[in-house]
Symmetry: D2
Subunit: 372 residues, 4 copies
């Protein structure tokens, strides 16, 4: 099982390598009747493109999406939506050197161990380019969620030592700054910091965060299919993510129960939590509060310094990576996190439709008549 399918009822299957002819995704299980056009998807793909600033790779990726199936007269038909993005700017020559050795921090070695050989051009299937399929599919999930009053929003929390100040959270800044930080001052500091990093021929890690607002309570299942468990898988499946947390995350390990428990209170006739240490999930099920997910991303493994490694033929050697590489992964990964979160939440919402007998009865009515 090569593992390129995600989701149970809203199910996506991605394909494509860094330097193949094209990349794409098949979205199966999208409800019929959603207005959908290429522009809806392009908007998200554009957010993962390398920007014009100094902090991202100077590669140009057009990443133009084409809808090949599943949409008729501007609406989804309920059948598979096939989306394709042609590769246009890949220069295979850049990578020929690394065909026969293992770059530290990359998947070269493990692919060889697993499959016996690998497509060495630009990381092949383990390249960050693999995420274009996720983002194209996630754009559709986000559009559906928006129609249901739910917004998903990811941004950069920190780059190396530079942290965004969340007290003046600025959503627009997150969409506009080169670092995707919701704080223009921190963004400027991070850009300057990244200049130093690049000058050192080095790279650096960072942290990103995703909020889901408007999600009703009751989403997610107990035991193995907990909403937080599936979010953890979704986010950890993004290359370079090494830690995932919900709500207060790793800090809970030092907290007391009396501070960590969120009390309930009635507000406008509704039970609400007075705080949100839980990050919107209790027992694996959404509690109606904002979902808070955080991901910690390792430094870009491709650095321009000389590194020690071994060759395929078993000899110690030095390697000096060339090519075009971002000094930090986070800003471009933010939209991928947003999309993986949206896909996970939507699938859980669809699975929740059959949670109660009264839902089945309301839907299929008496005498087997479908009432909706």
């Amino acid at each position: 099982m090569a593992g390129s399918t995600y989701g149970t009822v809203f199910r996506i299957t991605t394909w494509g390598e860094s330097h193949g002819k094209a990349l794409g995704v098949v979205v199966d299980g999208c409800p019929a009747g959603l207005e959908l056009e290429e522009r809806d998807i392009q908007l998200y793909l554009d957010r993962r493109k390398p920007g014009a600033t100094g902090i991202a790779t100077p590669r140009k990726e057009a990443d133009s999406v084409e809808i090949l199936s599943g949409v008729f007269e501007g609406r989804t038909t309920g059948t598979p939506i096939s989306l394709m993005i042609r590769n246009t700017s890949q220069i295979s020559g850049d990578y020929s050197e690394i065909a026969s050795c293992y770059r530290p921090g990359h998947a070269d070695y493990t692919f060889d161990r697993k499959y016996g050989f690998r497509d060495y051009r630009g990381g092949g299937r383990s390249s960050g380019r693999e995420t274009v399929g996720r983002v194209a599919a996630g754009a559709i999930a986000c559009k559906i969620l928006k129609k249901l009053g739910i917004t998903v929003c990811a941004y950069t929390r920190s780059i190396g030592p530079v942290e965004a100040d969340m007290s003046g959270f600025d959503r627009q800044a997150a969409l506009e700054t080169p670092t995707a930080m919701p704080d223009r001052q921190a963004d400027a500091a991070a850009v300057a910091y990244l200049e130093d990093v690049r000058h050192d021929m080095d790279s650096v890690g960072g942290c990103m965060e995703c909020l889901v607002e408007g999600l009703p309570g009751g989403i997610g299942d107990p035991v193995f299919e907990k909403l937080d468990a599936n979010l953890a898988k979704a986010v950890m499946s993004i290359g370079a993510v090494k830690a995932v947390e919900i709500g207060d995350g790793h800090e809970v390990s030092r907290h007391r129960g009396s501070e960590n428990n969120d009390s309930f209170q009635m507000r406008e006739g509704k039970a609400v939590k007075v705080s949100n240490h839980a990050g919107g999930i209790l027992g694996g099920i959404s509690d109606g509060d904002t979902i808070v997910v955080r991901a910690y991303v390792k430094p870009t493994p491709s650095i321009f310094r000389t590194q020690q490694t071994v060759s395929q033929s078993g000899e110690s050697m030095e390697i000096k990576i060339k090519g075009r590489h971002d000094p930090v992964i986070v800003p471009r990964a933010v939209v991928v996190m947003e999309c993986m979160t949206a896909l996970t939440v939507l699938d859980a919402m669809m699975l929740n439709l059959s949670a109660r007998m009264e839902n089945l009865t309301a839907f299929y009515g008496f005498g087997g008549k479908q009432v909706l």
Copy 2:
């Protein structure tokens, strides 16, 4: 989908509530020919039982496992292994009070939101008792892994502010101390600390860690079924876990690429990493090094202080939880983490069998003849 099934080819389905007649698990896809008896499983169940020390609930849970199917003349037959643990010590009276209100930090509210009502006795399906099925199944996975030369070992890293000193890692201590710490001094400090916590009618969180040693490279799949993604899901599905990390985890966000990259080196004719910041996984696939997973656990939500909450009928109220509750969850969750890790690794190993044409050819031979 109630979500009580875990795994693709080594697949378990757990069932049972805190105060029902029994709890259990069906293990489907276990290879035929494994020697198995109840004692193999009991050993693991005993590790999650409340101990005799002051830090765990004084409840007595016999947790005697019975093998109901799938084993014949002492060996597994390849058909489903049904394991049952009868509930013996549950006192429903303790919980009647909380039937109509929502305990902070518990899943009472979210179960009501999802299902319309809930089995309020002891948390029902969201109780920690649900994990007996996971541990019973995990014991089998661990036995198989051991036969393949792979060991899985979890322990407590910290309880509140008390951290184990990993420099003198003492595996035996982890099995014997009441805190499951691999450091007898830290254990003593943690036990003293927990006395204070209990005296404050409070609880505290902690951190646990799991190592997988001996795992060959090549296990796990690229993209969505990455080994680390599945480990994150497995571990986050344990109630009370709020953060999961691999290798250096959340600290990578402040690291430089030059420190985070693990160089390769030849050692005894084999490529090995000289460090293990990656935690044994590159690009979602095991690299032959030790797998390192960490989980951060929130404080036990059941504390004996008065807390603010609301009732099912929508009134603000105070609640004072009675009953028997551990001041910290970690020591008893350690074996659950070990089992979830084992189940995840074994399933990935089984799925890896068909990764290469040469494996199929070696197995089924020429002319369709099975050679093994």
Copy 3:
């Protein structure tokens, strides 16, 4: 993958062998709020018990079901329902002889090929007793369908050369006659015929049919998850079934399009088909008409005549099967077919809930508020 799980959202996992301690099933994904007690399930289990007549095995199987989890105060909670049936009347001695050779028409040989050895007592997991779990789970599915106005009803069409006359279809007869035929005259003829068969120390095959009435249109998915494809799998998974058909079945191969096409007509403001050659399914999706499924069952392989076979150690030998065996499988398999059909239809109905955007909008409302 031992393959003991069936269904995607209404998902069952069966376990247990002919001569083990017990058999059972875990039903996961049952909606919350369904009234359920053991009697609901016992009713169906009793229908697959050997009767008092001469045509069934004189074995006595109490088959008393116990609900171990998932039901609280008389209603399902949405968590796994574990059902167990203790084995009481198994006499292992009867089977010791066949431990080391392969009975013709049985799975002895193939289990040995697959697993290296087998539980030889009474067929182990390949015994007809395996179906008690399916029937216990199916009883729940039938109860849910009934609440939605849908009935599932299976019966015997023929036993050897004796066919039921469908013109005077008598549903009560199907429940009361020893052959499960909906025709008391044919039943009498079949009973007499079976006496001859038994006298010849032989067995015979037959045909069973299942109708689903009241199912709304729109259930089932195009392409691989067609409703008829899933029914074919469900029914073919019943041991001894060698052919499955929908509507006119194998006879369509000789029909012309002009006779086989069902015309549409308006009736009471609704489009209906004037005939039902299609058996209620077009393009894999229910059309609102009665679903018609038929299964052809091979003769019981256990016959009391001397047969040629080989031993495990590779020698030709003769075998004369002893024990207690029905001369025809059909009458007891009818309720299994009914249950597998119900499970398949219910799962498809649940998956259909997310087929349209307007359903999601109606359910989750605007602003993410759950309206049901």
Copy 4:
């Protein structure tokens, strides 16, 4: 769940409609190291193209396949193989008339019931063109099976009343005759018969058969994932198939156990069956003998006679279908059956790799070292 994915470890996802831009399939889980080029796949696609003879539609479909990913330097890499076939000859004008009414025998009505509307051009996703994705994927499965010494071969058994004489089975004829019959005389008779059918502005059904030779024993799982159950689903999922049978099929219902049981005998030191009424499967598991599957196909629903139907707006009306339609579906469906059978068998073989502890031990060796 739109249901466009098939298989567990060798998993395909098809997409595309009759008159969309393109159709295709993503093959995930294909083992690494298989030599693969477009010609391997084109060979199979060409077999489902309408021929030059009078019996098939005069439409011209180039059906040129393009490999978009998953193959590097002529070999599969273990990552998803994306295959695309551009639509070139679709004339949407032909179908505009049927946009607002329901063709008898087609899925127009059921798609509208399910999704609220449909892509009415040429049947959209319910068109026979959907099968190009299945055939492209199946070609890869067939190539792998061939390397393991296993051949899959389907052909036409009968068209209307004309049956192939199986005594002089001629495999080459099956590949060359316009009817795909393995009997040139019957082919000639069938072609003449089809002329009459076409002259009557009618269509006719038929029967096709598929053999799997060289499959080792032990493939398939007990209970729900029986090999025959999965074959039944695979074959019934082909549009227009109304009955599926294994071995003697529906005729077993009239047979006695003494004739239906296949005796075992030692031959060249191996246990073999002396007959094959079982069709190569016992208890859901292959027995080493030839697998025999049969499918009965309904007459093409598109006939040129006037038919009664209703419009979307609920009025009775007459319809006269235009366009280009085969008078019989079977000859072009034969390769689809072959491919669905190959996909099913290969997936079962892959899942079988972990059936025994000794296989795991042989593969992963002692000390966790991978030995293959």
